[in-house]
Symmetry: D2
Subunit: 352 residues, 4 copies
Amino acid sequence: MSRIPIAILGATGAVGQRMIQLLANHPWFEIAVLTGSDRTIGKPYGELVRWVLDGSPPPHIASMIVQPSDKVADVALALSALPTDAARSYEELWAAHTAVCSNASAYRMTPDVPLIIPEVNHEHLSLIDDQRKTRGWRGALVTNPNCSVIGVAMAIKPIESAFGIRQLHVSTLQAVSGAGYPGVASLDIIDNIIPNIANGTEEEKIETEPNKILGTYAAGRIDSAQIQISAQVTRVPVIDGHTALLSIKGVHAINADEARSAIREYVAPEIVKNLPSSPERAVILHDHAERPQPRRDRDAGNGMSTSVGRLRACPINDVRMVVLSHNTIRGAAGGAILNAELLVAAGYIRTH
Amino acid sequence: MSRIPIAILGATGAVGQRMIQLLANHPWFEIAVLTGSDRTIGKPYGELVRWVLDGSPPPHIASMIVQPSDKVADVALALSALPTDAARSYEELWAAHTAVCSNASAYRMTPDVPLIIPEVNHEHLSLIDDQRKTRGWRGALVTNPNCSVIGVAMAIKPIESAFGIRQLHVSTLQAVSGAGYPGVASLDIIDNIIPNIANGTEEEKIETEPNKILGTYAAGRIDSAQIQISAQVTRVPVIDGHTALLSIKGVHAINADEARSAIREYVAPEIVKNLPSSPERAVILHDHAERPQPRRDRDAGNGMSTSVGRLRACPINDVRMVVLSHNTIRGAAGGAILNAELLVAAGYIRTH
Amino acid sequence: MSRIPIAILGATGAVGQRMIQLLANHPWFEIAVLTGSDRTIGKPYGELVRWVLDGSPPPHIASMIVQPSDKVADVALALSALPTDAARSYEELWAAHTAVCSNASAYRMTPDVPLIIPEVNHEHLSLIDDQRKTRGWRGALVTNPNCSVIGVAMAIKPIESAFGIRQLHVSTLQAVSGAGYPGVASLDIIDNIIPNIANGTEEEKIETEPNKILGTYAAGRIDSAQIQISAQVTRVPVIDGHTALLSIKGVHAINADEARSAIREYVAPEIVKNLPSSPERAVILHDHAERPQPRRDRDAGNGMSTSVGRLRACPINDVRMVVLSHNTIRGAAGGAILNAELLVAAGYIRTH
Amino acid sequence: MSRIPIAILGATGAVGQRMIQLLANHPWFEIAVLTGSDRTIGKPYGELVRWVLDGSPPPHIASMIVQPSDKVADVALALSALPTDAARSYEELWAAHTAVCSNASAYRMTPDVPLIIPEVNHEHLSLIDDQRKTRGWRGALVTNPNCSVIGVAMAIKPIESAFGIRQLHVSTLQAVSGAGYPGVASLDIIDNIIPNIANGTEEEKIETEPNKILGTYAAGRIDSAQIQISAQVTRVPVIDGHTALLSIKGVHAINADEARSAIREYVAPEIVKNLPSSPERAVILHDHAERPQPRRDRDAGNGMSTSVGRLRACPINDVRMVVLSHNTIRGAAGGAILNAELLVAAGYIRTH
């Protein structure tokens, strides 16, 4: 098929840049519109962007003129890397006409907005039908989870399916790229750890989003899962890749060997498997006792696989494990792109 | 009083170096003997040591000739920075004649060997009387805990006293200096995290030592505390200062405000307060939501204070908090020195 | 003598904070006034400052109310940590009444403003007499050099005295604290180097300031030294401590052994030796082939000594060497304080 | 053509690993033999290797049994990642039968051994004819330069061609991967710089190798170039990518604009252009004043391009510039592979 023209909302920030980088040779999508804040409108993208990734923006993107975020473009699909406030201002405008796949937190917990990880809960997309009915939208609004939640949810999904989960302790070691640019000052993080992120709101997201993601769609709504979650987060001197230490208590006692098997046998649903950005394995289980590590494992599956290691019994709960995923690829830009691909495969995008 | 001549066993490693640095101007102790491995015996300390701390060894130490560790010197006190195997070979030899304060793990869990944090369980020193009776020693063998345990035990002591503790989740972010020198390769830790230390044995120590430390001395033995502990450890790119994230369930429900008060009101016992290396406050409670941080707080109380922050309710257990302590000062060399000072104050050292 | 009340201009930034930290127990000076920008005026210092150093501001400073920088206070001495523009707006106002020791670059190259490193060119203070005569000031304006220049100038002074210097190549590896706070983004510097600082202006300072510092005072003006200087600067992932690699061609051929002797025999002038912040040795010469190193040597002489190592012949010029100094102590806050102490000793401060 | 079976000598170290990684999908070469030290012989590669790169070794390599380095295998081509001493012991053995492309320093300066950067001096390969004649070899021995030299030589080649070079100052900031594994201890390099590498021998290599590389082949020997070089090296907390600051004086005065043009117009010789590992551009010239940077530019041209920036006039010499290249790809494993490809293209490999 000819490629689908798409818009990137909030294209100048770190997540917007990553979307552009990941879409460089995308087989389905073609960047047609970039939007930015007042400061950037009307200027060529390449002149105003402070590119924080490796290399430089592709030349044909660098020459595109940045558009205002409040002017809905005639494209069938938009990826949103808008900051929370801007997302609240503009995403519904776009969603009335266009399918919006948003990385912003603004609408993640809104009841009729699906919070999607394709391998985990693609069936929640049915909420779009309700959105269209109730809100009169021709487009849609779909979100992906917080960058720490996404790996955790992928890693526990096979365990939740096999045993049910009652309690979940999460301790994270999060990369600086999660704070955007300029984000974390080097004076705050070289030879240092910051034991808090966004003044507790990061922990709040980790304690709520997984229950929506692992919930069940029925009759126009999501019945939340009922996992008790406690999250303690830290920022560490790592560029990319969030690490999480989990301790899990099952509804039924979780056996470590069976949990390992559950993860090994876990396969993405058919509709997800063939999406262009879908990794060969959604969750990779490591046997080596010192893995996963952010620098060595974050790029697994082109940054789209979640890695799990040290799955073993816990003296208090049932099992413990270490989870790693790439926070700006799977946890942000790549997550939104995979959602967009899923929308295409599921027939929610006008492709003509 | 004139200063007590002491020996430092295993003086060339990272912990031995830190002992030398901390004793530079000690009011009670004077370094009389340095021991080292075969490679180093008979040579001037300054020529063979690969000094890994800031600055250089003091000149009068640099010119001392290194002695064999198996030749017990005529000193009343020895600080041991020996590696585990060497500790197992030599510490009992020394303890027959001399009070040995050891940082090694070899004998920490041996029933008649006190595992001491002066502010927490100085009364366990009574085990020395049993050592002398049963083993016929004129000296003694006293140990300090693992570098991660020491801060955790200090931080939970006031809570344990006020509420009792039933369950304890510990996730650590440990500094590279904890692995000694050369220790962690830079290729393994720059822009990276290693989610394991010493192949699980570090976690084992965290899951056992606190119960001995918080136990009760009675009639020649320690009745262990009965806290269920689960530890998950990581190595992080930080030079000094171990961070631990704790989630605690009390025997009696722990109220966060009362726990904060318990920590604030916690004072060291009279016999400890006036020891030269005793910090003004054993445990410092932070109110700022982004503290404690290793680089900014590890040197509190000259590296001898433990810092606690983010003490708040836990959605699963009762309370959560962040604990930081300097792993090579309070958690190793300084801990051993404080134990030695305590032995003097408690009358266990021949000072003539 | 009773302590001299002083003002700190621009007290909330990183350099202002370091001044406060270094003055905590100063024998001569007592902080009486703190000034700040509009945002901060009228508020207690402790509430508004984002303290970037270790620990916290001293309690009696934390409770002081921040004053406007444009209201000259009745103190005999002011230390200025103002940013360049603010320095240009306010320092002359203060200098009319008060001796101002400024770390700002605004007036460093102004002909009648001394650019002072006490050990190197204290006699340039005579310019103050000219300032007072020409400008009608009762106070004075004295500056200290750029944070990279200060160590370089101290290190080459004994060589310049012994041989004269014709050409000087300088390559620097500068710490992130030199950029203030928030300064360098962690995304820009973890696992990275930035081969430029302040878009070339840092190099310009290194290429000009040393010639003023090493110049000769005569009849109301400084005759500049005539060293050709080429500087290439980089930012590196180091918290504190600027490293410089030097290659030097003498007016007379410089012999490496004699250069080493010149540095070893270099002593501060009598008037400087007894200043409270004066280090025992202004320049420390290392023999160890891997020193000086920023983390291990920056705190030498309480951060006031400059360290030199690897002084050896150069295949192109005469000699090469490595220079290290603490950029926010000797290179900024401590440099300004030492200048202030020199003003007292030289009789330029009203002390009654 | 069917792929050429090759051996990798010293396959377990960091450079050997990188060779394996880069050859994963090589169109011309197929790994047939891996050799290692006594400790490793007879074991499957995957079980004994401590893989220090991202990800893991490819499965078909992991199952190969490691062979002794002193047993010459029947392959037409060998890549050597042997340490210097082992190179001295074994490379000539292999070269008698097989074309050896070595990354070791052992024979780089041997008169009849070409020291090759294909884009710079491919014509030096003619020395192989002399090797074969004089030594009676059926194979050959070809070396690639030191990891710091390779980028510097590529960057100055167009300038040398256009103006001649008389003097060259080089200051380097070298990545930790250059020291192999375990290499640099994290305690030595986090928040730190080490101002020396290999006790001066690294500088020696930088001061000699470029003159051989830029020399002229004539009648069985290389007439060295006559550039005076002064090198000052440092180790910095960067994983991969060596940065070098250059100051250059030409035989004829070098104009910065013309030097820029010379670099921009520089193209690899025809025989090199189509080699599989040859980058699109050998040398990339940056205009942005803060580039090149190791993390952002080391992977340019799949790690095979050298990046140059800040090319500008020098107050002492003619021009200055910043050079960056990937030390373990272009500067080691990739350099050896490109040399091997060149040997094939130049007809020096038996391919039947």
